[in-house]
């Protein structure tokens, strides 16, 4: 790829969200903004090749896209004067002078408005995710459909409907007022973490981890920290994602099999991500407004700081889970707490807590409930029960890597169980 091509690619990833956010503010229209930016990228591809790179490629693109946008609005205005959609858009158009191709031209950062609009509660979570990836992340419809294993027309239609709703129901394009920002921000964080998790533990398909989604979520997490750096949960979320991502290479072995935290080769953990993550957790905790992401990040940091699995400070992890349980009554957190107790206070006690976590049967369809229970039963040498639990877990996951992991455990039990029986006979 030529230097211009490479720069374009890089600018595209880094600047897409910022530029599109500005264009949406100016036009009030997601579609017009997307078209204008698309055209600007096309013209950059040919122009930069011929004339060399501008000093500030991002500003160059913004200016050209801005001009294309104004042209499009003017065209639309003459064509469909009666249509209120355009009337609405035109009223939001700021007074302007024809932009010069000045590299130094400054545009305010509108990404925060964009994030809040994409994650507006009147859109479903799936739509919030798709819209965030499409507009803020600049992923194509094809890429998003592929990442979530959805047919492309389904995803495309979801985006069309969302943009239509934003326009027709007039979902505001603004940073929410103080009394709403906390709720709205937690929706934004949830969307980013959902993108990360979909990448980290892909719910279906052959690969356990989809790095593209993890990388995108981390990038969005950085944007959020950059825009609202004094929100400790933003820092906590970024820290959590970095610390989980640091274990990526160790989590799957060369045969594509799942490796548990306990069995991972810790030299394969990414030291740079760990350092950044730990640093972020500490910065967040100093702000003294603890929350679920900070606590989960702190737990991940305790794991990250243990040189070997045996050195893990399980007491501290148990304490952090107890704190986390005060924020969320989630049975999944209760399950993780139980697993930590098993490691620090004994398998028997952990098993009791795991079974208590499922008091209302809320975890019966959760693969990890059965897998964790099976794991403790195995450690307690209750092999028959462990096998039954592993098999239930197997029936509840569609991820092939997770399925293979469980099958391997069942086989191991078969072998050691038989060995135990043979020994008894002798």
């Amino acid at each position: 790829m030529s230097r211009a091509g490479e720069t374009l690619e890089q600018v595209f990833r880094e600047e897409y969200g910022r530029i599109i956010a500005t264009l949406i503010r100016i036009s009030g229209s997601f579609d017009l903004a997307e078209e204008a930016l698309q055209e600007a990228f096309i013209s950059a591809a040919s122009k930069w090749e011929l004339e060399g790179l501008p000093n500030s490629p991002g500003a160059w693109l913004t200016t050209v896209a801005h001009r294309r946008l104004l042209d499009a609005i003017r065209r639309n205005r003459t064509h469909t004067d009666k249509e209120t959609q355009i009337a609405f858009e035109a009223t939001r158009l700021q007074p302007h002078v024809e932009p010069e191709l000045d590299d130094a031209m400054e545009y305010p950062d509108d990404r925060l408005r964009l994030i809040f609009t994409c994650c507006h509660p009147s859109l479903t979570r799936e739509t919030q995710v798709a819209l965030t990836l499409r507009t803020l992340g600049g992923l194509t419809t094809t890429e998003i459909a592929h990442a979530f294993l959805l047919p492309e027309p389904t995803l495309a239609q979801r985006l069309v409907r969302a943009k239509q709703k934003i326009r027709l129901a007039r979902i505001p394009y603004e940073i929410p007022p103080v009394d709403r920002i906390a709720d709205r921000l937690s929706a934004v964080q949830a969307v980013i973490y959902l993108i990360f998790n979909e990448g980290y533990a892909a719910s279906a398909g052959q690969n356990l981890i989809r790095n593209d989604l993890c990388a995108e979520a981390i990038r969005l997490g950085r944007v959020l920290c950059e825009l609202l750096p004094d929100e400790p949960e933003n820092l906590g979320l970024l820290a959590l994602m970095l610390l989980q991502d640091s274990r990526r290479d160790a989590r799957v072995n060369d045969d594509g099999e799942l490796v548990t935290l306990e069995e991972q080769d810790r030299t394969r953990w990414d030291a740079r991500e760990i350092a950044e993550g730990v640093n972020l957790v500490q910065r967040a905790l100093r702000l003294r407004r603890v929350g679920i992401y900070q606590l989960q990040a702190a737990i991940a940091a305790v794991h990250a700081e243990a040189q070997t699995a045996a050195e893990t400070d399980w007491r501290q992890i148990v304490a952090l889970y107890e704190e986390l349980l005060r924020f969320t009554a989630s049975p999944i957190v209760a399950l993780n707490h139980a697993a930590a107790v098993a490691m620090s206070e004994g398998f028997e006690r952990g098993l009791g807590l795991i079974e208590a976590a499922d008091e209302n049967g809320a975890l019966q369809n959760y693969y990890l409930f059965h897998a964790s229970r099976a794991d403790l039963l195995r450690r307690l040498h209750r092999y028959d029960e462990a096998t039954v639990a592993y098999k239930t877990a197997l029936s509840l996951t569609t991820n092939q890597v997770e399925q293979n992991y469980i099958r391997r455990r069942v086989t191991e039990i078969d072998i050691s169980h038989k060995k135990a029986q043979t020994t008894q006979k002798i």
């Binding site: 009337a87 507006h120 009147s122 027709l168 129901a169 007039r170 979902i171 505001p172 709403r180």
Partner: protein, 121 residues
């Protein structure tokens, strides 16, 4: 921009509450209405008679079919509406959240299709 706020509630529990409570709710409704009027956001609104008074009309092949009952049987019934003027969806949902029945029922917020209004544009 105009938004229709459709008030859905469970008619049975509405008829089950006592008179004091009912009067309190009506008074809360009046208060909201007056506030919206004062701010120029109230267009119109009313409570509806219960679903048992509903009649459905269809015209098929030029023939008028009049039948008893609502368009669809639902868990919660349309019991009233507000038509309000709001800047955007957030403002409309804020008003909806203050409708007394939001505490027990559901308010559906629907933007109106805006036709070109030469005078106001």
């Amino acid at each position: 921009m105009k938004y229709m706020l459709l008030i859905y509630h469970d008619e049975q529990s509405w008829s089950a509450i006592n008179e004091t409570e009912r009067q309190q709710i009506y008074s809360d409704y009046r208060k909201l209405r007056e506030e919206l009027l004062a701010r120029g956001q109230f267009v119109t609104g009313s409570q509806l008679q219960p679903i048992s008074t509903a009649t459905s009309v269809r015209v098929r092949d030029g023939k008028e079919l009049v039948t008893d009952g609502p368009f669809a049987e639902t868990h919660e019934q349309l019991g009233g509406y507000f038509l309000v003027e709001a800047e955007n969806l957030d403002e409309a949902t804020s008003i909806a959240a203050r409708i007394p029945s939001a505490k027990t029922g559901t308010i559906e917020v629907r933007p109106l299709v805006e036709t070109a209004a030469p005078a106001s544009a």
